[in-house]
């Protein structure tokens, strides 16, 4: 079965500090893409960052970066200089080359403490 596991149901961090959200996945496919989505309390899901599995270089988008370990099937998200607006549910997801179906993890609720 193709699954995504987020082992941290909740995380909290002080404003301006750095936090890392964990994600592991299981797929037999060799060609796939990984995503982190953010879902604020208004519930509109927003793409934060994506990573192509064939690329060794970790993706970076401003304060957001990933640590992609393909052999370990691990895809963690690091948020630097945390801001109050980062508070949300964060979902890890992947899609295989042959399918357009996003497979999501159960999410991590991130709280930012002022």
């Amino acid at each position: 079965a193709q699954t995504v596991t987020q082992s941290q149901p909740e995380m909290s961090v002080q404003e301006a500090e750095t936090v890392t959200l964990s994600c592991t996945y299981d797929t037999s496919e060799s060609d796939y893409y990984l995503f982190w989505y953010k879902q604020p309390p208004s519930r509109q899901m927003i793409l934060v960052i994506r990573q192509e599995a064939y690329k060794q270089q970790n993706a970076t988008e401003n304060r957001f970066s990933v640590n992609f370990q393909k052999a370990a099937k691990s895809f963690s998200l690091k948020i630097s200089d945390s801001q109050l607006g980062d508070a949300a549910m964060y979902f890890c997801a992947y899609v295989t080359q042959g399918a357009q179906k996003l497979v999501f993890g159960q999410g991590t609720r991130l709280t930012i403490n002022p």
Binding site: V4, S42, R43, Q44, M45, L47, K101, Q106
Partner: protein
Amino acid sequence: EAGVVQSPRYKIIEKKQPVAFWCNPISGHNTLYWYLQNLGQGPELLIRYENEEAVDDSQLPKDRFSAERLKGVDSTLKIQPAELGDSAVYLCASSRGDRVPDTQYFGPGTRLTVL
């Protein structure tokens, strides 16, 4: 550019009643998705459309759920009759449909409560 629009945002119904959700995707997006999100869980795909064609409906409970995307733009998801276990958020997403993988853009969702 307008985002994905969904209505209603909230719906409360009695069990065994029918309910319908509407989605208007981003202009020019050929692919449309309906996801089910149970409380505390990630979304799960119900159905995916490429233009008017339902290309993946393997997870849609066809005994009570139906969907349509007439003219390849707006889409409606219907439940008849609704059951208590259908209480969840129903998310619509769209993508351009011209690359793999597509970036999916999500709407705000419809929160359904079945009493």
